[in-house]
Subunit: 253 residues, 2 copies
DNA sequence: GCAAAAGTGTTTAATTTACACCCATGC
DNA sequence: GCATGGGTGTAAATTAAACACTTTTGC
């Protein structure tokens, strides 16, 4: 509401002020977006990393990311932060909205410690993205002939990530675990239709601990009563008894 | 751990690379910090705003804030984001760590929509700060001859804040309410020693709804058992029966 | 038949919510 | 004494946690 009011009419004096305003009185940092792209594969939470083929940290694994495109042109100041994150996500994975639908993408926090990039002052807005494991086979490394690989969270301790990317991943995992309780992020990591156990597997992978199947089921059944989930047709073959499948309800009652 | 590994030794080739690296191949945005300074006064959640005396939005109310000081000097890239926020907080309120102790200060989110500042591309890292109401009388407007005023949250709807600051405040309130359940931010808004009702008042102000005194007390007593709070000496005079006072335990058992 | 996982039920404790009510003090 | 808010108690409902048990499939 009020946020939009500001784009309304301006008084003529302010208009004249803007005309002759000269930007750039202060030194400016570079601003990037870094992506923590998560999926759950084999009941394991994994992060997509790319191998750097330039200095600094040449050869080390790092989060995909890139510069936010900006300009001081008053008519076109460049892309939004969210748009930059989405663009990088598409560039790095090769998945587009058209081929793979929409992605969950949300800001984590901004990292700007001096010295985190030895080249220059870089402030990085970290985002995390959730990608269904069904899409993982479609992913190809990004355009810059990059080598990309999924790392399970346990592997990260030994990976010696570039920059402060280990810290960014840690902060993301904390946030993802908190979001798991309050929002519906688990549904972003499960196929269109899914079994209760598949959903439990996602919860277990993110929380990093086993959950009681019976108790999880009960909480799940409550979600059905609340209209967040509905039964879907068919059964899923498993190693034993086939399981019922469900679907996330777009319009919770 | 791993985050620190990066500042270790670098190979000589990388060192040479950095020596001849020229920064600034990409256009850069200005980066600022904006502060949502909160207090609870008269059982009401309030935000400190300053009146702009320059274009754009001259005369309108805005969040205090300012540019992050940066440099590409490899030895000194400037100040950290947290440090910038803390510096602005001290500048705008006149309170220093020495006179008023430490403040709660935490990042909210980063706002970078193109056009949010009509002068140039500005990306702003929003922080929120909590200030005990006991310190409020000490606050004097910042150095730039600024007019500052506390606005209760209800008043904000009519205030027509500058830039996208209304959006920033909204996001902050959502975060503060979430933090209220999970961390101990309420203790940051209450005097050194406090009564149960004073603490409840802070919760009510942040959540914007009344809480049952009896039930709140029970939850509170559980915090005592957990060692988060301990009884303090003395009583607080009230309109009726004097109330016991408590103290936040620095070292929860 | 048997292992394995789906699915159901039970029991206990902890927590939430909605109240009723007593008590000490200032005026 | 009496209004006010501090402080206590109770009872129902919901949720969390632990765990035993039954059912249905693949092999």
């Amino acid at each position: 509401m009020t946020a939009k009011a500001k784009s309304g009419k301006r008084d003529p004096e302010e208009e004249r002020f803007l005309e002759k305003y000269k930007a750039g009185a202060y030194a400016r940092p570079s601003v990037t977006v870094d992506l923590v792209i998560l999926t759950v594969l084999d009941n394991d939470l994994k992060v997509l990393l790319v191998q750097r083929n330039e200095h600094p940290f040449k050869g080390r694994w790092a989060l995909p990311g890139g510069f936010v495109r900006v300009s001081d042109d008053r008519k076109d100041q460049g892309e939004d932060l969210d748009a930059a994150a989405r663009r990088e996500l598409e560039e790095e994975t090769g998945l587009s909205k058209e081929t793979a639908g929409d992605f969950f993408l949300e800001q984590v926090r901004t990292f700007g410690r001096p010295g985190r990039d030895p080249r220059m002052r870089v402030i990085s807005v970290a985002y995390y993205a959730l990608v269904r494991s069904t899409l993982v086979p479609l992913i190809r490394a990004g355009g810059d002939a990059l080598v990309a690989r999924w790392f399970s969270v346990a592997e990260l301790a030994d990976a010696a990530l570039a920059f402060d990317h280990a810290e960014i991943v840690d902060a993301t995992l904390v946030k993802a675990r908190a979001d798991l309780d309050r929002s519906s992020i688990a549904f972003e990591l499960v196929p269109e239709t899914f079994t209760i156990q598949e959903l439990r597997g996602v919860h277990e992978a993110i929380r990093g601990e086993a959950l009681d199947p019976g108790n999880f089921r009960k909480k799940f059944l409550r979600m059905i009563e609340d209209g967040h989930i509905e039964a879907a047709r068919g059964k899923r073959a498993t190693a034993s008894k086939p399981a019922s499948v469900y679907r996330f309800a777009r319009s919770p009652v």
